[in-house]
């Protein structure tokens, strides 16, 4: 296995600056990260720490001002639908398409015939518990269902890498927990590399192999914490409690800093 094959995502010293009416703002500063194949990495940090920006850069939707992103050995220059799929906090389902047609959208762009698209889409929706809902429109689905359809749409591209930007952020607590469990199951079955943005410690601990803690703006990597616990995780265990305490110490500092700077 060559070095390129070993690391699906390499983030090398990327920075991103934005121009706002009140001057230039550095959202992300010199962030470096290597993600191993099949790994679940969470980007954790307070609001505005640039974690979403890093994700969008990996996804090729935002160009870094400095540094570069390397996806499976190739420098990234834009959206990469063969290698990278994204799911956002807003499910972004096309309201005029049924769940089935939404899931098949990416495949449609690639020219797959309708029968094949239907087959793949149904195959993804069923294990998600959405069998029977494929002909429904987004407005007829609950928030959790919509998000599942959006994730199915990303999974349909069958990419080795999946990027998720707080996909469960808009859901209520119970649904969030259930979706988290479901995602763990999906990951076990599909062995994809996942980068997951969240500001919830709970979620990060429950889902990740590694947690990257980011500082408040300008976002830098504060710490990288391994979570070598087996799945499914017992969130009441002492290891988890230790981990949570350690994480909280780090994140709290940054959250306070973020709050002060915006006050």
């Amino acid at each position: 296995m060559t070095a390129a094959e070993a690391a699906p995502i390499v983030v090398e010293g990327v920075s991103k600056r934005y121009q706002t009416p009140s001057g230039a703002v550095t959202a992300v500063e010199e962030v470096s990260l290597t993600v191993r194949p099949g790994e679940f990495v969470s980007l954790l940090g307070p609001s505005g720490c640039g974690k979403s920006t890093v994700l969008l850069m990996i996804g090729g939707l935002v160009r870094p001002d400095a540094g570069r992103i390397v996806i499976e050995g190739e420098p990234s220059s834009g959206p990469n639908p063969k290698k990278v799929a994204l799911a956002f906090q807003d499910p972004g389902l096309f309201p005029w398409r049924t769940a089935l047609d939404n899931v098949g959208f990416g495949l449609e762009l690639q020219g797959l015939p309708a029968a094949r698209r239907r087959e793949i889409a149904l195959g993804l929706l069923e294990p998600m518990g959405l069998k029977g809902f494929e002909a429904k429109y987004p407005r007829e689905l609950s928030g959790g269902m919509r998000q599942r359809v959006a994730i199915a749409r990303a999974l349909a591209l069958d990419t080795p890498i999946l990027l998720m930007d707080e996909p469960f952020g808009a859901l209520d607590e119970q649904t969030r927990l259930l979706m988290g469990e479901w995602l763990v199951g999906v990951r076990r079955r599909t062995r994809r590399t996942i980068v997951f943005v969240t500001h919830s410690l709970q979620e990060a601990i429950a889902l990740s192999d590694r947690i990257v803690v980011m500082t408040a703006r300008p976002g830098r990597v504060k710490d990288v914490i391994e979570v070598p616990l087996p799945f499914p995780r017992d969130l009441g265990s002492p290891e988890v409690a230790d981990l949570r305490a350690k994480l909280w110490g780090q994140v709290r500092e940054e959250s306070l800093r973020a709050m002060e700077s915006s006050a």
Partner: protein, 247 residues
Amino acid sequence: MGRLAVLRWQALSVAVAFLAWEAAVRVGLLDPLFVPAPSMVLHALPSLAAEALPRLLDTFGTTALGYAIAAAVGVPAGLLLGSRRLLHDVAMPYVVALYGVPKILILPWIALVFGIGLSTAVLSAAVFAVFPIVVLVAAGARDVDPTLVTVAVSMGATRGQIGRKVLLPAVLPSVLTGLRIAMVFAILGVLLAEMLAGHRGMGYLMQRQAMAFKAPELFASTAIVSALSVSVVAVPLKKKQRLGQWR
């Protein structure tokens, strides 16, 4: 109050209104020279039909032509204006200003240049109908949810694919609304042109009936044109409801 009860009350109110109207004329409260009784209006209908039919076809045919032109020009213009931010911010105030100018003011000029006939009426319909189309389509194009576009871009959609598979369906409800509203404007434009200049269509007929104090015939004409206008607008409404189902 249930739907059926509402309908019954509506029908009852309309019936009572007509009866009261009839009674007022019979009793002498209303002068039949100016306000004919409903019975007189109904009486005038059959003889009116012979003259009205070709004129109705004329008016509504002209409307269709002008409307088609307005749609062909207005929809692309609206899409262009709505999707390009710079173009929108620069040009939209002018569009809105022109929309706010009563188009009746330039109708005499159109009649002067294009003569007393079909082209004036068609152009009038087009001018009246194009503005609501442009404004509504542009608004619809502006309001497209940016997340939808981001999703498509992240999946590697080309510009053409984004336009066809995301922007067009997202904009469709606004386009349909604009087209529907524009219909009334198109009919308005044609009638105005007919009343102002020319011998064609229902507009001219109604104007002439008014000048000749042929009140029953005038009221009958008014009723026919109103009924047809309402149905022309109502049919697309049904279609729109089916197409816009996902809303």
